[in-house]
């Protein structure tokens, strides 16, 4: 009763998952054993379900067409692969009922093995193919105003964001955790999510789709940096234009000064670039990063030029300015005052701009789900969890996520990454912990399973699943397997 509670009110939290509304002390679980107080945060402690448990407790098993790279020697029917998707139930198995209802096996219907969960530690790594400036490194990435991750170090032609992780999931406010969970799940299920970056852009991200930066859909990755673009197209420009500037946030290239131009004996033009010269014809920091030309913040490319040098420049000199994706391009002719005047671009230069566009790969967002299978999940598979880890490292056990191949990180634990577009639709779920729910399967030889301390008495033949009415085919979505 309330009047007998002796603990300080601040210690406990009240669970609102069901009308019992338990007060739960730190480190303890509520009456249901499904929710617990983990350092002041309500977390769900339901076991994750692997196959054995699923079969016993109402989960659905999902076969789908496995990809052809697995030799099928271990699973007898190579065309059928049982995934963990949809395997979930909520039966509190760590405390199986002391009485077990009979009639199934040997007069007694056993409650199945305790298999505990996964992916309290998880997140997604998102690669956004754009040179547009999304925000400074380490800037907070938000969804619905809540911090869900941050901008991390960029990669070739791409901005990288890292979302999720235990701190956003359970370390912040309840809303932060919920929004993070929603964001991770939606991204993992290939849905579009709008992210805003502190001090940066708003970007709509969807796995396998172009990013939409500040309302503009990105179409292409840049063909290369500005310098590389000069190198690639110098010959095509030679004789058609006197000067070319490829505007790029990273390295802006200038044809007449660039090694490629020198090789073609292109004359000096008296051009004066702003920014910091790296090597001839290559300039860093011509402008601030942004969503304008070539990932800079400029909308008028002339703003990165100083006055032309009268010693070398002459009236009538022609100049093409183009971004690294060919998306922006302007053509200028110097007037009597050596001032560039924008003029209609000749057809052959238009062609070169289109060629740049053509050589840019489609810009996509790619989402890798990353999660760690810690001790508890492994215990669901074997009595001796570390042997499962070793078995994975020794490549005796194949790890898949929704049947999709994964990359398992070297080092401790079973931490893996998987391309969510390779996974069947709706593979991810969540629990109100909040935590993300993802399928994981361990496939190994029966003899190896026995050797690593597997729960042999819970192994059941695939045929018994095939006959089950609970097995449903996964919808095949064309194009998901990119």
């Amino acid at each position: 009763m309330a009047d007998t509670i002796t603990v300080a009110a601040g210690d406990k939290i009240r669970c609102d998952a069901c009308p019992v509304m338990c007060y739960i002390k730190p480190g303890a679980a509520g009456a249901c054993d499904r929710y617990a107080n983990h350092d002041g945060t309500l977390v769900r402690v339901d076991p994750h379900v692997v196959l054995e448990r699923t079969v016993s407790h109402g989960g659905k098993l999902v076969p789908f067409q496995a990809s052809g790279d697995w030799d099928g020697k271990i699973v007898r029917q190579p065309e059928l692969f049982v995934t963990a998707i949809g395997a979930g139930t909520t039966y509190p198995d760590y405390k199986p009922a002391p009485f077990i209802v009979s009639s199934e096996v040997d007069g007694v219907d056993m409650v199945t093995v305790v298999t505990e969960g996964i992916f309290s530690y998880c997140g997604v790594k998102v690669k956004i193919d754009t040179d547009r400036y999304l925000g400074p490194e380490t800037a907070i990435v938000r969804a619905d105003g809540e911090a869900v991750g941050h901008v991390t170090t960029s990669e070739y032609g791409s901005q990288m964001v890292s979302l999720g992780g235990v701190h956003h999931l359970t370390g912040g406010s309840k809303k932060e955790g919920r929004v993070t969970c929603d964001t991770l799940m939606d991204l993992s299920n290939c849905k579009a999510v709008e992210l805003t970056i502190d001090g940066g852009a708003t970007v709509v991200v969807q796995a396998g789709k172009p990013p939409i930066v500040n309302g503009m859909a990105e179409e292409r990755m840049r063909v290369g940096c500005g310098s590389a673009t000069i190198g690639m197209f110098a010959k095509q420009w030679h004789g058609k234009v006197d000067e070319v500037v490829v505007v790029d946030d990273h390295i802006t290239g200038v044809l007449s000064e660039h090694q490629a131009g020198k090789l073609l004996d292109i004359a000096d033009t008296g051009i004066k670039m702003k920014g910091r010269r790296s090597t001839p014809g290559r300039y860093f920091q011509v402008a601030d990063p942004g969503t304008g030309w070539g990932g800079t913040n400029i909308s008028d490319p002339l703003s990165i030029l100083g006055p032309f040098n009268a010693k070398e420049a002459r009236p009538g000199l022609t100049m093409l300015m183009v971004s690294t994706t060919g998306e922006h391009a302007s053509y200028y002719v110097l007037d009597e005052a050596l001032k560039p005047i924008e003029t209609e671009m000749p057809a052959d230069l238009k062609f070169s701009v289109e060629r740049i566009q053509e050589n840019c790969e489609p810009a996509l967002c790619t989402v890798l789900f990353m999660g760690g299978a810690g001790g508890s999940l492994r215990a669901g598979v074997t009595d001796n969890p570390v042997r499962l880890t070793r078995s994975v490292k020794d490549a005796l056990t194949r790890v898949t996520s929704g049947g999709a191949p994964v990359y398992v990180w070297p080092g401790g634990g079973i931490t893996f990454m998987v391309d969510v577009t390779q996974m069947p639709a709706g593979a991810f779920g969540y629990v109100p912990t909040p935590a993300l729910v993802a399928p994981i399967e361990f496939t190994m030889k029966l003899s190896d399973y026995a050797a690593l301390g597997g729960h042999m008495d819970f192994v059941r033949p695939l045929s018994s699943l095939r006959d089950s009415a609970e097995v449903r085919p996964m919808p095949h979505l064309p194009g998901r397997r990119a």
Binding site: H38, V111, V431
Partner: protein
């Protein structure tokens, strides 16, 4: 008890979620406190058993009979189950208070059944109606099923507290485990339709609720599940060695702030005990069990402590329990 924090897989395909979200993923409705909170209702993959879950209540149900009867019974079970937890929670404060041996102020039919089950013990010791919650819920759901359909055999298993229906000639076999945190069956027992037993319950210090005693498990056969539930609690509490230094006890409210046991000491851990101490504790419980047997509150009991078992129970021929509880496997071959 330490345990890893974890999660689970709970969704199927996107399409499936769209079409049957309400019945498959009740948790989605908890999140922001909006919308109806529905129990989980699903057939287990064997296609025979029904799984109902809501908050702390988790039922596995099986009915045997004509197909139409079975499905009518399952339908009735699901209907009765929906909202049942809310019914109970409406009177939770009273249900968590010491039961009055004479007077019942509770209104709900399940709450009143809980009270009725514990009332016989309320004069002699502290007990709240919560001691019979699991059995009472099981009984209620079984009742709803039997009202809706004629069944040969049925059970509602509420986490080990089981309400039974056995028509003529039917029987029911259960396996008994002494350590619910391990698997392996220590004994089996068979309940025949000609026995008065329609309820089975287990209590002990390893279960979800706390015990004042030290029994690993006390299994009770009684006429109803609610009676079995209450009696198992009382007998398990009696398996004890008061003031023994090897037994760690802490206030129940320290473990669960809103425990109905309040600041009363509950068993947290049991260290090594001498053989005669185990005997002594079991005998204390067995004495209590024999009293309940004599007064007709139970039909039999099996008490388990640190590998030792004591059986209590006699019918006219004096063999009910020893006949019913058949040692099936060697006790110590349990899988650890």
């Amino acid at each position: 008890m330490t345990r890893a924090f974890s999660s689970e897989v709970d969704t199927g395909s996107r399409q499936e979620n769209a079409s049957s979200q309400e019945s498959r993923a009740p948790f989605r409705f908890h999140r922001n406190g909006k919308g109806p909170r529905l129990p989980q209702i699903a057939l287990l993959p064997d296609g025979k058993r029904l799984h109902l879950q809501d908050g702390p209540i988790d039922l596995v149900i099986e009915a045997k009979g004509r197909d139409a009867d079975v499905s009518a019974a399952y339908q009735a079970a699901a209907e009765r189950f929906t909202g049942l937890l809310d019914e109970l929670c409406a009177e939770l404060v009273e249900l968590r208070s010491a039961a009055d041996p004479q007077r019942c102020v509770l209104k709900g039919v399940v709450a009143r059944r809980m009270h009725a089950a514990v009332a016989p013990f309320a004069a002699g010791c502290f007990i709240t109606p919560m001691a019979a919650v699991a059995g009472s819920v099981a009984e209620e759901i079984l009742g709803a099923m039997l009202e809706a359909a004629a069944l040969d055999r049925a059970y509602v298993n509420n986490g080990g507290d089981i309400a039974l229906h056995l028509f003529d000639g039917e029987q029911f076999t259960v396996g008994l485990m002494d350590r619910p945190d391990r698997h392996g069956v220590m004994r089996t027992m068979t309940v025949d339709s000609d026995m008065p037993v329609r309820g089975i319950a287990t209590s002990g210090r390893h279960g979800r609720s706390f015990s004042f005693g030290i029994a690993d498990a006390v299994a009770v056969l009684a006429r109803t599940a609610s009676q079995a539930d209450a009696a198992a609690t009382v007998i398990a509490n009696a398996v004890d060695l008061p003031n023994h230094p090897a037994i760690l006890r802490v206030p129940g409210s320290e473990l669960q702030p809103d425990s109905d046991l309040g600041a009363r000491l509950v068993t947290r851990d049991v260290g090594p005990l001498a053989e005669h101490e185990i005997e002594q504790a079991l005998e204390a419980g067995a004495t209590r069990a024999r009293m309940l047997l004599t007064s007709g509150l139970i039909e039999g009991a099996a008490l388990r402590l640190l590998g030792e078992t004591r059986l209590v129970g006699a019918t006219g021929n004096g063999t009910l329990v020893s006949h019913t509880f058949q040692a099936r496997t060697i006790d110590n071959t349990l899988q650890a």
